[in-house]
């Protein structure tokens, strides 16, 4: 499955250009679930990207772990969840030098969270390469309680923090790395549109 192409929307909706090999420069690669395939494709195009790469993989039930482990990156780290991986990711990013390449591949939730972290460290957006693979589930922040619900695939959906019924918007916060969701029945309490699967 190639890089997901999302239908045109408002300017704030991120699009992902896809990973382009940057040779043997020091790099941090982070992938979750089907994002592994984007890393495999990247290595296929130029195996030198592995020379100084820390590769972190969060399988989320996908079966690519052994393939990634066999690639022979300078460091390979498989983690049970993104939360569990954050200690390592924070340390790698905080001690990285300018010129380190950042490759992110997989879900919008992971890419949004890591790119927001990298931006907060002063890395410009053009330094972050991203490729979307797999589920189109979105990280949605409830604008009312500020809680984030991960992997949202329906519109509307129920906030996992405060229980409001929320409308899925394309409005994305780069600072937070999440989409914004607003109460769908604020003005007509109880009148909830039919639930639909979101599409790319």
């Amino acid at each position: 499955m190639p890089n997901t192409s999302f239908s045109p929307s408002i300017e704030s909706r991120p699009t992902y250009a896809g990973l382009v090999p940057q040779g043997s420069a020091p790099s941090i690669m982070i992938a979750d679930a089907e994002g592994a395939e984007a890393i495999l494709d990247l290595v296929d195009r130029d195996a030198a990207v592995l020379d100084q790469a820390h590769l972190i993989y969060i399988p989320k039930g996908a079966k690519f772990g052994s393939k990634l482990a066999e690639l022979g990156a300078k460091g390979y780290h498989e983690e049970a969840s993104l939360d569990a991986a954050m200690t390592l990711i924070n340390r790698l990013l905080a001690t990285a030098h300018m010129g380190t390449q950042l490759y992110l591949a997989g879900s919008e939730g992971m890419m949004g969270r890591i790119s927001a972290l990298a931006l907060s460290l002063g890395l410009p957006l053009d330094a972050i390469q991203m490729e979307h693979r797999g589920s189109i589930g979105r990280p949605m922040q409830c604008v009312h309680c500020k809680g984030v619900t991960q992997d949202v695939t329906t519109d509307p959906f129920t906030c996992s923090h405060c229980g409001l019924t929320l409308f899925v918007r394309d409005h994305f916060s780069r600072r937070l790395g999440v989409f914004q969701a607003v109460c769908v029945d604020a003005e007509t309490p109880g009148v909830i549109p039919e639930t639909q699967e979101i599409t790319a």
């Binding site: 420069a25 990013l93 300018m98 010129g99 002063g122 330094a127």
Partner: protein
């Protein structure tokens, strides 16, 4: 065109054989607008027939409203603006100065700032340093000059372990590879000086994998002199002569053709003008138009660019 003020020259101090510092204050001593590090002003010089307007970086403290200071290097091969400053301007001279504009500000998202100056390109960094001191942000400054005698910045820079002078005739050349290696994540680079230095820094940064978004530059550009040429205005059919030491923008202004401008150095994009017809070659000297736009010859930046050939018709 920016708002202008009439200011009085209160200090003229030679820093080196070629570089002189000028201080401007309001005649009535009222406060001036404060600015941000890297800002410049445009100074008007009534030089005989020609009204020159040159942009100079402010070197004084951005938070000091009592005066503006600039440092001007005399360019004997230039068109005459810097010679005018050196020969005609004395304490008491009143001059028209624009309000400050900034095309070279510090990026507030950066965690560390690496400032690289060549020669008179030190000037914008002098105000950056004041701002960085106030913000208490990490930085390092690398200042390259040919010789200690020519290095005007040495008189104006504070003593600091973070400020490095690279004097080439003392064998202490700047090593860009070393400067750009091992910088912590979130470092941004700023470079000002001759074209050669700017392209060397941009090339070295690309080789070391730096993202473009972390690179900032300002060329110290004044319009180069060249061969005289003629332009035709499409709407009126008027023909305007541009002399050897005049820019196209200055020639248009002298002919009272209204044209918007700001930096007069080919960086801001304000004076971009459509070309209706071009039989010849535009000498693009700006940093605004893209490679493709230059090749098309359908746009020109009159502040910097010239023309050679049979006919240039502007959509004016």
């Amino acid at each position: 065109m920016s708002k202008q003020m009439t200011l009085e020259v209160t200090e003229v101090e030679p820093l080196t054989a070629l570089v002189t510092r000028f201080r401007f204050e309001r005649p009535e001593k009222a406060p001036l607008p404060i600015f941000s590090g890297g800002a410049h002003v445009v100074v008007e010089m009534p030089d005989g027939e020609i009204l020159r307007r040159n942009a100079y970086s402010l070197i004084s403290d951005p938070n000091d409203a009592s005066g503006y200071e600039i440092a001007v290097r005399r360019e004997d091969a230039g068109r005459g603006g810097s010679r005018y400053m050196h020969s005609e301007v004395t304490p008491g001279t009143k001059m028209r100065i624009s309000v400050p504009t900034n095309l070279f500000a510090l990026d507030p998202r950066a965690r560390k700032h690496v400032l690289i100056a060549g020669g008179i390109g030190i000037t914008p960094f002098l105000s950056h340093l004041r701002q960085l001191d106030l913000l208490q942000q990490p930085f390092e400054l690398h200042y390259a000059a040919r010789s200690r005698d020519e290095a005007a910045g040495l008189k104006l820079l504070p003593k600091s372990a973070r400020i490095h002078a690279h004097i080439s005739d003392e064998g202490n050349r700047m090593d860009l590879g070393e400067i750009l290696t091992g910088q912590p994540i979130g470092t941004h680079v700023y470079v000002c000086g001759p074209e050669g230095l700017i392209s060397a820094v941009l090339d070295a940064a690309a080789r070391h994998g730096w993202p473009k978004g972390a690179l900032h530059f300002e060329a110290f550009a004044s319009p180069p002199p060249g061969k005289p040429f003629t332009v035709t205005l499409a709407k009126s059919g008027r023909k305007i002569e541009v002399s050897a030491s005049q820019s196209l923008l200055e020639a248009l202004e002298a002919a009272e053709v209204e044209i918007d401008w700001s930096c007069r150095g080919g960086a801001c994009g304000r004076c971009e003008t459509k070309v209706a017809a071009c039989d010849g070659q535009i000498e693009h000297n700006d940093h605004w138009l893209s490679r493709d736009e230059r090749a098309e010859q359908k746009k020109i930046m009159p502040c910097m660019s010239r023309f050679t050939g049979d006919a240039l018709v502007l959509d004016l």
